[in-house]
């Protein structure tokens, strides 16, 4: 998905490499055929929840009109893969949009791009314009009787709109607050209370490839339970940060030391965040040789989430890193649910006072107590006291402090300050 010539964003280049052939081919196919093909491929959603795309499609209620919404609200800290797919290969995603629309008998699709992604949004709009001009979008696409309108919708700075029901509210011109599920499963009661499919940018970017190579061949790539390649955004203390398209099943050691080039200055690896800021952390002593798949990650008490791997070396203060992640969730909480709205704010304040040297010996227990009010039992996957998973996500770094870095919290309290000086910006 990421092999990009410099003009990969143009429709001419995309067509020269076989672009839109698969979308055009879907016109003659039935909904059942297409849903079955995607089910067979084993494709799991790449937005964070890793749910079967084919299954999701099959749940779409029969009422019409139905809508297709592409989630390009990529905002999970550490994640920048969709940005690359949108900027460098917008037609690949747009072909996926057409395939998904035909498969689900949808005539109106919305591409929701986060507000800070002005450039990716421009690229996608240009691609949409080019596809309209070619007759691949609009009335009677590819000369058929099938109409498809596509609207690019720009967000305005709210992480929570990446949650699919919040995104739908946002598209309806409301505050981006998540809806209760049930009853508001998008497949039954989504946009304008009509059946709606919400798929991530990377997910639909896979669709042309699945149709081109055949679902069976797609299952031969990657891990049997987690098929195909996927994008990992690797950042933090690695020599070669970037987006890497890898098959499921390589190990964390391969990723951090081979692909990522290891830790700058050959310092020690202290911990990494395996799937975006929402995911519980991993440490080298336990997890370095685990394979990177959804199931193995879940067994180890975390998730691959959005594929954002944030690497932290031994100069990193874990209290400070936790505070920064919790601050994010406190800022992005939509405010509907008390445990999240109040809990994330308190977690942030307690972590800040520990980092600033005002911590007390009981503060770790207090952090765990507040966390337990947001995510009862502090298990994984979290038991929710909230409408959406944002609140429980803020608890992930607290679990790392409890399980791996208790001593570091204690030494902050004993020293009355941070034992690790923050690093200077790189030159």
């Amino acid at each position: 998905m990421t092999d990009h010539p410099t003009d990969s964003h143009t429709i001419e280049r995309y067509e020269a490499t076989g672009g839109y052939e698969q979308a055009s081919r879907t016109i003659g196919m039935t909904r059942d055929e297409l849903v079955e093909e995607i089910k067979t491929s084993g494709l799991l959603g790449r937005g964070g929840a890793a749910f079967s795309t084919g299954l999701k499609w099959s749940f779409l209620a029969p009422a019409r009109p139905a809508y297709l919404v592409i989630n390009g609200d990529e905002s999970e800290p550490g994640t920048f893969k969709d940005r690359q797919l949108l900027e460098r290969d917008p037609h690949q995603m747009l072909e996926g949009v057409i395939i998904a629309a035909v498969a689900n008998e949808v005539h109106h699709a919305f591409i929701y791009i986060r507000g800070e992604y002005a450039k990716p949004a421009r690229r996608i709009q240009a691609a949409v314009d080019a596809a309209y001009a070619r007759g691949y979008l609009g009335a009677g696409i590819f000369g058929s009787g099938f109409d498809l309108e596509v609207v690019v919708h720009l967000g305005a700075g709210a992480y929570i709109c990446g949650e699919e029901t919040a995104l739908i509210n946002s598209l309806e011109g409301l505050r981006g607050e998540p809806r209760l599920k049930p009853p508001y499963f998008p497949a039954a009661k989504g946009l304008y209370m009509q059946p709606t499919i919400v798929n991530n940018v990377e997910t639909v970017s896979n669709l042309p490839h699945i149709l081109a190579m055949g679902a069976k061949s797609f299952t031969e790539v990657g891990h049997p339970l987690d098929t195909g390649t996927f994008m990992l955004s690797v950042s933090g203390h690695v020599k070669r940060p970037g987006n890497y398209e890898v098959p499921h099943g390589i190990t964390w050691r391969d990723l951090i030391y081979e692909i990522g080039g290891g830790i700058p200055g050959d310092r020690e690896l202290k911990a990494w965040i395996p799937g975006g800021a929402s995911s519980p952390w991993f440490v080298p002593e336990i997890h370095l040789d685990d394979q990177i798949t959804k199931d193995i990650c879940a067994e180890a008490g975390s998730m691959l989430g959005s594929g954002a791997v944030i690497v932290m070396d031994d100069t990193t203060c874990m209290v400070r890193a936790s505070e920064r992640i919790v601050r994010f969730f406190a800022h992005e909480s939509c405010g509907q649910c008390t445990p999240c709205r109040e809990g994330t704010t308190w977690l942030e304040m307690i972590l800040r006072r520990i980092e600033d040297g005002q911590g007390r010996a009981v503060d770790l227990d207090l952090l765990l107590d507040v966390s337990d009010n947001i995510s009862v039992g502090l298990g994984w996957p979290p038991k929710m006291t909230t409408i959406c998973p944002l609140g429980p996500s803020a608890v992930s770094p607290i679990l790392a402090l409890r399980d791996y870095f208790r001593g570091e919290v204690d030494s902050h309290v004993e020293l009355g300050g941070c034992p690790l000086k923050p690093v200077e910006a790189h030159a």
Partner: protein, 207 residues
Amino acid sequence: MSQWSEATEERAREIISRYPQKRSAVMPLLYLAMAEAGHLTNEGMEEVARWVGITPAQVHAVASFYTMYKREPTGRYLISCCTSITCMLLGGDDILHAVEDESGVPHGETDAHGLLSVEHVECIGACGGAPAVQVNYELIEGVTPERARDLVRWLNGARPEVINGDEMQELFGGVRSFDWAIKEADGAVGPYPAFQPLGTVGSESDA
């Protein structure tokens, strides 16, 4: 009584026509209102309310939910410094301090001339090129504190008409998340994203 230019009104009509329900046009229309007045004024929100047929209070409720709708006067150049986890790990806090110090504008504030606003923001999806900064939502990756100071001096001195991401990246940037490859000709002209929904084609015009 409308206060919007004819071109803006035409665009508002086009945008509304693209959605199955008028209310869905609130967000793009709020951006139009910002572009008209430089920031989101009460009058702008009332205008949006009239266009989509809801109350000004309902529009206000939406506008206040999202960080990019600036309801206070905002500088011609909005400098957004990322201090989320990856940028923090690689010195993002130092970038923010350098920008604040060089501009004399603390985060969340605007200078006396209405030229520069400074804010710290959560993750802007540039972690492979951390630490990162945006000016009017155009990205610079791989910034250093010294380059951040240069950026502030450049904005104050050169006062570019259009904020172009490629130009800024070349002048002030370093390591990038990925190869950008494609040069862009234009860019942003105010503290709101340089994006026109609809582009040139609507469903009717390509028939």
